[in-house]
Amino acid sequence: MIPVLLILLPLLTGLVTFFIKDEKTARSWALLASVATLAVSLLGLTVMNDDTHLSHKAQWLQTIGSSFSVKVDGMGQLLCLLTAISFPLIFVSTWHSQYKKANNFFALMLLGQAGLMGVFVAMDALLFYFFWELALIPMYFLASQWGGERRIKATFKFFIYTFVGSVLMLVGILYLQSQTPDHSFSLQSFYNLGLPVRTQSWVFWLFFVAFAVKMPVWPFHTWQPDAYEQSPTATTMVLSGIMVKMGLLGVIRWLLPVLPFASWQNGDTVMTMAVIGIVYASLIAIRSDDIKRLIAYSSIAHIGLMCMALFAENKSGMQGVMIQMFNHGINIIGLWIMVEVIERQYGTRKLSELGGLAQKAPVMAIFFVIVALANIALPLTNAFAGEFLMFNSLLSAKTSYLYAILFTVFAGMGIILAAVYTLNMIRKIFFGELTTVTANAQDIKLNEKLAMGVIVILIFWFGVYPQGLLNITDELSQVLVNKMDISHLLRKQ
């Protein structure tokens, strides 16, 4: 019931939005729809959080072994909640941004939300693939129609890149389905597969490339800074706050437990790629002058850490990543809201052209600093608990001891570098001399204060008391870790 509503509500309201010609009405309608989705998500988290409400199965393409099977598990709860919170925040914070053909813009945003929800709750591989593409298509149109100057090139690259990945994944899905005894696409049959080791290692890469492009993991990341830079900021928020979580969710739900041998075998390779990505992206972020690109590279570094923690294959890593997916989404949306304000007000995103804003816009400075500190994962901010768990997992990773130490040290450098570029960004935007651009700056408006207020409350709430998030993900992460445990599998054979 709940997962069906989470998909249907944005889908139907989105389709209706296409026909609302008046801009103001379309805007209000989209906000209303997203708030309704948030209400459903909260309902699923609190009152109706039992299995009968949280899962649904219906017949769909039965002849080829697929069914419309959806379920909100622990990870699904967090990601659906993140998606549901994000959209009202995005709509409220960009209330004053002007779009041509606004109805189409909001309609596509809501369709994207439906696709994302579908990815997070799908328990059938074909359904998962279907929603995976459904989420991509609206994003393509949003970025290519309302984006910046070089949008066509950037979105073309984004689309081709992710599409190549997802087609590889489709091949993998079809192969796995052919190997199941009952020729079924259901997640459960995939979990029971137990493929031979040699087969696993090549199927692994079919899936991993798709997820690596989406996350993105170095060196599959080059679509990302361009796409983030060129998309309208509201779309960038969806791309970076929610959509990259599709890749992580894919690894957690569809890769590690399905191909445990190969995941263990290739874990070192993947972790090496991810750790290179952390240091590499952080160093580039230090040298970036464009705020959007800086945050994009910072995001690559953060996602790299999450990817590493997943392949550490233990419970604290698993749980750390699950709560970090939520918290990273909240924090980065906060950063993008600030970027949107800066760009709309001053017409530039260049650090070299900004300065001294703290004198003119103190409220904005306070919000920005809090979100930026959360981005560095300072204690008492929401990102701290997840980051701590992830580093904890790296040290006890299932690799050789030397590797574990090396990985931890280099990933730890990412934190230091994150402090360097984040604090540098704060200094260059808010302190120092006023520039010609910022001389007549104004503070942020009520709607932006409202959205940022919610984000700051979430930052401190989950910073002081992360137990709520941990409780939701506790059971699922244990189940998944058991499925990934190959020593246990070896004993069974």
Binding site: K157, Y280, L283, I284, I286, R287, S288
Partner: protein, 101 residues
């Protein structure tokens, strides 16, 4: 009190070392900050732009180039089509011969 006590004079020797806080900041700048900045710049402008992105864009360019060349095969001359057909059949036979287990 003499006027000289209030005069700002450049310290020398050990005093200068202390005045510059043991040159710790300069040392950090020299051995950590500047190299990292330079390395970051190198990654940004060379590795990211030319190597990784170049590779990605290169794939795209190779496809466009390849398809432009392959287009020339469609010459409209039946003779060349027959030739290609025969060559293709030969290739199939050769491949089959070597792949037979």
């Amino acid at each position: 009190m003499k006027f000289r006590n209030y005069q700002r004079t450049e310290a020398t020797g050990f005093g200068k070392l202390l005045e510059n806080k043991w040159y710790v900041d300069e040392l950090y700048d020299k051995i950590i900050v500047n190299p990292l900045h330079q390395f970051g710049g190198f990654l940004k402008s060379v590795i990211e732009k030319s190597v990784i992105d170049g590779l990605v864009n290169g794939v795209g360019k190779a496809v466009t180039y390849g398809s432009r060349q392959l287009r020339l095969l469609q010459s409209g001359q039946a003779g060349s089509y027959v030739l290609l057909m025969v060559l293709g059949m030969l290739l199939v036979f050769v491949v089959q011969f070597f792949l037979r287990k």
